[in-house]
């Protein structure tokens, strides 16, 4: 735990702060990962910068072609947002699976990425939504695809003192869903999960993004499976073939939460269920409208 807490109110103030002596500073947002990690002796930083007051990191706004989600947006704020409901169906469906209601009031979406846990629900869904992430260091900005932000379990491409400022997600018409298999229905850590975003043209898949969590060192973009679905009719048979294919793309491990073989099998099951649910929802909306 730190000796010095700095609490800038703007990004300008942040970049005027002196460098931390003898090591990098730690950014404190929701605190749910940093604090519990520090408590367990996993962090020895002397200087923490509390970024919860930085106004540029807050809020969800819309541009002509994208949504900009501030990295300081809390998970519970995502669930209340009309913009998220309208444009990001996979992310919306991931929120109830994200920890517990009180943790959702604390944790931020930026922190979910920064922690870079292979099982993170929020960023898995955001990858399927084709999000980019905005990073800033000393006022210099750069944007990269979120899927390229992770370099390993708990590792990212963030440079020393670099800050995640926002996620930029394109607005595109698509169906989306997030399914998670944990030890219980809610408030569990995933054994495997899948986020699917499908751009449909009638019954045909125009384009697909499929991201899996907990079955590879970083959120896994199942590119082969997505390419298989592209241009095909979305039906139960093709969903089954896609499920078989995705099992060849994942690289799960055995750990405290599950076994590699089970995770591989469940990756297929979850994807098939996710695709089937899009088929059913599509049929129902046709009936309805």
């Amino acid at each position: 735990m730190p000796e010095l807490i700095l609490k800038p109110g703007t990004l300008k103030e942040l970049w005027l702060l002196p460098p931390a002596p003898g090591g990098s500073r730690k950014y404190l947002a929701g605190g749910t990962d940093l604090v519990s990690g520090s408590n367990a002796g996993m962090d020895a930083s002397q200087v923490w910068v509390d970024i919860s007051d930085i106004k540029e990191l807050k809020g969800i706004r819309e541009t002509k072609n994208s949504l900009i989600i501030g990295s300081g947006v809390k998970i519970s704020e995502l669930s209340g947002s009309g913009l998220i409901s309208r444009w990001l169906p996979a992310l919306r469906s991931a929120i109830p699976h994200f920890a517990s209601p009180s943790l959702r009031n604390m944790a931020t979406i930026g922190g979910n990425a920064a922690t870079a846990s292979p099982c993170a629900d929020g960023v898995c869904a955001l990858c399927a939504e084709r999000a980019d992430v905005w990073l800033e260091l000393g006022g210099k900005k750069r944007k990269i695809a979120l899927q390229n932000f992770f370099s390993g379990p708990k590792k990212t491409v963030l440079r020393r003192d670099e800050l995640i400022t926002a996620f930029e997600v394109p607005k595109w018409k698509h169906a989306g869903v997030y399914l998670k298999l944990g030890p219980r229905a809610y408030f569990g850590i995933a054994k495997a999960s899948v986020a699917v975003a499908l751009e449909l043209d009638g019954e045909k898949v125009r384009s697909a993004s499929i991201t899996l969590a907990s079955v590879s060192p970083v959120p896994l973009m199942a590119v082969k499976t997505a390419n298989y679905l592209k241009g095909r009719v979305l039906n139960y048979d093709n969903a089954r073939t896609a499920a078989a294919l995705v099992k060849t793309e994942v690289s799960p491990i055995t750990d405290a939460r599950s076994e590699a073989a089970y995770r591989r099998e469940m990756s297929g099951v979850l994807l098939e269920r996710a695709l089937n649910s899009v088929i059913l929802t599509g049929r129902m909306s046709q009936v309805a409208g």
């Binding site: 700095l6 609490k7 605190g31 920890a99 517990s100 009180s102 009031n105 604390m106």
Partner: protein, 177 residues
């Protein structure tokens, strides 16, 4: 208070913080390694329970700046300038909150350890959604674990309280203990 926030420096590992607890302004001296949960308990707010200390059980739930949050994961120094409600701020034995009445009447309290957190989560739910379905209550109390009663009576209690709040009923108003 905003300006003071800009820089908090520990003197010999101690931060001086000001915060509002149940509507009363308080000043605490807290260690840089201390959590809000421990600071609150040290200052007499013993209703905030220390269960797992890792953000899993929900026993330490407080309303933090208007929303339920887990005091065991909040470094005490970051509570500088915040507003906190503990169950001491909700009702008294003489004049309980409808949720407190309902939890007693429904038999939702056995050992009682999880109840402060559970009632504070429920209060926030009912403030936002006065007529929640059973499913909504279950999902909302997801992060509040109970090892005694089995998650049936508490759900009934929240429904009972919701109905009474809606109808303006209050059973024990002003009753002497």
């Amino acid at each position: 208070m905003k300006k003071e926030n800009a820089r908090l420096k520990a003197v010999n590992g101690i931060f001086e913080i000001c915060l509002g607890i149940n509507g009363v302004k308080k000043s605490f001296s807290v260690k840089n390694t201390e959590f809000l949960l421990d600071a609150l308990r040290r200052h007499g707010y013993k209703s905030v329970k220390k269960g797992c200390d890792t953000g899993d059980c929900g026993s330490c739930t407080v309303i933090f700046n208007g929303k339920p949050a887990l005091a065991c994961l909040i470094p005490a120094f970051t509570a500088h300038g915040s507003e906190i409600t503990t169950i001491e701020g909700l009702g008294t034995v003489q004049n309980p909150h409808p949720l407190q009445e309902a939890f007693v009447e429904a038999g939702a309290v056995q050992c009682g350890f999880c109840i402060p957190g559970m009632i504070l989560s429920s209060k926030h739910l009912l403030d936002a959604n006065p007529e929640p379905s059973e499913e909504e209550i279950r999902k909302y109390l997801d992060g509040n674990l109970c090892r005694c009663t089995g998650y049936v009576k508490q759900i009934q209690a929240v429904r009972m309280a919701a109905k009474r709040i809606k109808n303006g009923e209050k059973r024990f108003r002003g009753k002497a203990s």
